[in-house]
């Protein structure tokens, strides 16, 4: 008998014991109708966006809520410029200007649903790094010191200020992980009141199972990387981004 078969048959034998105190012989699964939604959010999409901002703020993130895609485009550019200035000011040394300061690790920008963004970013001087294979030593080295990353999301949850990023195809997991600052672009069409709402819609559409499988990796992110391991002192930016800034914009009007 293999180890696998031994383990499984031990479990089956144990469960057949007549007086086993636990688990109960018949226990039903939780059904979709009875399963609770843990945190509730009411109101229209703008109320949800405000709640998202409030929750993200509570977990050391920051957020802008914008009415149009044009505003979102300008906001992305000015946020990156602001970060660049902050980085250079913090360095305070002779090499305050480094060419790699202009590097931004990003997903293909057409996915951000902000038309014209790559063009304007490049015009301003940013260099958009879109690696194709991060196991290639050269490409890996290229992203090592990149300080900012831009991604969009699969979904965002107002109730907890969380967002879901995927990791397949051209969407590098690293873009939301290795840089010191993460800029996340969230169109209203991907904002849900709660995580439970998103799952229910995916389940209803019959997509949930296949979606999760084919994603290889999904991460639910709620705020800036942090730790309280130093005797309860909260420190941020332990391994993931220290700065998480979300730009939410209304794409539903268009």
């Amino acid at each position: 008998m293999t180890v696998r078969d031994t383990i499984l048959s031990r479990l089956r034998e144990a469960l057949q014991q007549p007086h086993l105190p636990f688990p109960p012989a018949h226990s039903e699964p939780l059904t979709h109708t009875e399963r609770m939604t843990v945190t509730h959010v009411d109101g229209d999409i703008w109320a949800q966006a405000h709640r998202f901002a409030q929750e993200l703020h509570a977990v050391k993130g920051s957020c802008e809520l914008l009415e149009t895609v044009t505003e979102a485009r300008l906001s992305v550019v000015s946020r990156l410029q602001l970060w660049l200035e902050e980085e250079q000011a913090a360095r305070k040394t002779a090499d305050a200007e480094r060419p790699e300061d202009w590097d931004v690790l990003c997903w293909p920008l057409d996915q951000l649903q902000i038309e014209g963004l790559p063009l304007i970013l490049e015009e301003v001087g940013f260099k958009l790094i879109q690696p194709t294979d991060l196991h290639d030593p050269e490409q890996r080295e290229r992203i090592r010191y990149v300080r900012a990353g831009i991604t969009t999301v699969e979904a965002a949850f107002a109730s907890t200020g969380s967002f879901v990023v995927g990791g397949r195809g051209p969407n590098a997991r690293a873009a939301s992980l290795t840089p010191f600052r993460h800029l996340v672009v969230i169109p209203f069409s991907r904002l849900y009141a709660t995580g439970e709402d998103w799952l229910a819609q995916m389940r209803h559409a019959g997509k949930l199972d296949a979606y999760l499988r084919h994603s290889r990796n999904l991460s639910i992110i709620t705020g800036a990387s942090k730790s309280a391991d130093l005797e309860g002192n909260l420190t941020t930016g332990v391994h993931g981004p220290k700065v998480v800034h979300a730009i939410l914009f209304d794409d539903l009007q268009q």
Partner: protein, 475 residues
């Protein structure tokens, strides 16, 4: 003073009690986590959440082998490799072989109780590999060469100045107690390791059977790093860490985060369903999942299956007055606190290997109230004590004492006479030592080692009652 986890139980406890830093650090942190949990569970329908997570987990355990098979099928379909490990040696050999086959000389690890349980670091180091813990707390205790002392906060026993000393000694950090500077140093050092590592290892907070997805929950992002950056990723999971559906996973995630740290959600929940495919920019080329039994099936058969509901949130440790006093190392095993006192003996081949642990409790019930899956830990501890007696593992004097106590309680005359004698004797003795008894002979000296013993009342309650009734009758 560091607690020597290989010392006998009583010595460990004494070492812990004589360390003032430990008590300050542990009670400060456990109070903070308990308050956060109460606020977080109180902000939602916390009781309903506990009931539902328990129901879901009970259902999993009732159908345990079927869900394991479903998980295995789906993981395999997603391109992961599934390994089954009966015990520690199997599990160590599996992970070691994967590392050696892939020439992964450097292994980065995320915090995981399952890998602590199988002493994985030691086994990999013996094979000549370098293993680096990447959770900040685990990194600190690895540098200090200590085991973790709490399920979710491994370095809870150390104060900031002690951690600073470790960093100065092991990382050549200039003297500072500035948490931000210490964190930046750790980030920089560990970033080098993430980029250089050939293999990442983590535990698994839960695995989704319907999709074949491994979920790990962290606040720092090291879980995402170890499961994304190296070419090979290995998750070691206890076979009970199962949930049936994605929705169940999201429910359990919220119960876990709220109970562990009082957060609505931790910063990262990383869900891996398979290795990198053609066209993916990053992610591991191989994903291995080690399904670890190591006594879990035995625990079910022995009647301690309820403890398998545990989602390792640590809330029972934070609520426990015994844990707050002695910290985690005094328990001597991988798992500590009330849940450790149950599962260390219940998982072991012989319950008697950890025969003191079922007594490391005041049976106050605070752990049961804190537990997000409502495990009746005090009852399980009593069951273990009873099993220890049945197996003849408890001391003979204890069995003899209980028997004598039973016959005493069955005879009113004996009970009253003994009460009288105790009252006369204790008052005489107390009179000689100035009011209270300061020393008693063995086996009662355990009491007077830490506190005085008040003498028995001159009159027993029965006597007092009889006299009172007589006087009333006379009126």
């Amino acid at each position: 003073m560091q607690v020597d986890i290989h010392a006998p139980y009583k010595d460990r406890v004494n070492q812990a009690l004589s360390d003032p830093n430990l008590r300050v650090a542990v009670s400060k942190a456990t109070d903070r986590m308990t308050n956060a949990r109460l606020a977080s569970m109180g902000a939602v329908e916390g009781q309903l959440l506990r009931t539902q997570v328990r129901k879901m987990k009970e259902h999993v355990l009732s159908n345990w082998p079927d869900y394991l098979e479903q998980l295995e099928t789906n993981l395999t379909r997603n391109g992961c490799t599934v390994h089954w490990a009966g015990g520690i040696a199997d599990a160590q050999a599996i992970v070691k072989d994967i590392a050696l086959q892939n020439s992964a000389n450097l292994v980065v690890k995320a915090k995981s109780m399952a890998t602590e349980e199988i002493h994985l670091n030691h086994a990999l180091e013996q094979a000549g590999l370098r293993v680096v813990e990447t959770d900040l707390g685990e990194y600190i205790i690895q540098l200090a060469d200590e085991p973790p002392s709490h399920i979710v906060a491994p370095v809870i026993h150390k104060r900031l100045e002690e951690i600073a000393e470790v960093f100065q000694e092991k990382l050549d950090m200039p003297p500072t107690r500035e948490p931000t500077k210490m964190t930046s140093l750790a980030r920089a050092r560990l970033r080098e390791e993430f980029f250089a590592a050939g293999m990442g290892v983590s535990g698994c907070n839960f695995a989704i059977a319907e999709t074949g997805t491994i979920c790990i929950v962290t606040n720092e992002g090291n879980g995402r790093m170890v499961s994304s950056m190296p070419r090979v990723y290995v998750a070691v999971m206890g076979i009970e860490k199962l949930v049936p559906t994605v929705e169940d996973a999201f429910l359990q995630l919220q119960a876990l985060c709220r109970s562990a740290t009082g957060q609505q959600l931790t910063v990262y929940c990383s869900m891996t369903s398979g290795p990198r495919q053609q066209g993916d920019v990053d992610g591991p080329e191989q994903v291995h999942v080690v399904l670890l039994d190591n006594g879990r099936s035995r625990m079910l058969a022995r009647g301690y299956g309820e403890a398998l509901l545990c989602i390792r949130c640590g809330a029972c440790l934070n609520a426990c007055p015994v844990y707050q006093e002695i910290g985690g190392h005094a328990y001597g095993g991988t798992y500590n606190g009330p849940i450790g006192a149950v599962i260390s003996p219940a998982l072991a081949p012989e319950i008697a290997q950890f025969k003191e642990l079922p007594h490391a409790t005041s049976l106050c019930g605070a752990c049961r109230e804190a537990c997000p899956v409502k495990i009746d830990l005090p009852r399980l501890l009593l069951d273990l004590r009873s099993d220890l007696v049945q197996e003849g593992a408890s001391p003979k004097t204890e069995a003899w004492g209980i028997k004598s106590y039973a016959s005493l309680m069955n005879s009113r005359r004996m009970y009253e006479n003994l009460g009288k004698m105790a009252s006369i004797g204790s008052n005489l003795y107390a009179g000689m030592s100035g009011g209270n008894i300061k020393f008693m002979p063995p086996p009662l000296n355990g009491w007077t080692a830490y506190r005085d013993f008040a003498p028995f009342a001159p009159k027993s309650f029965r006597e007092w009652w009889r006299q009172r009734s007589k006087m009333r009758g006379q009126k």
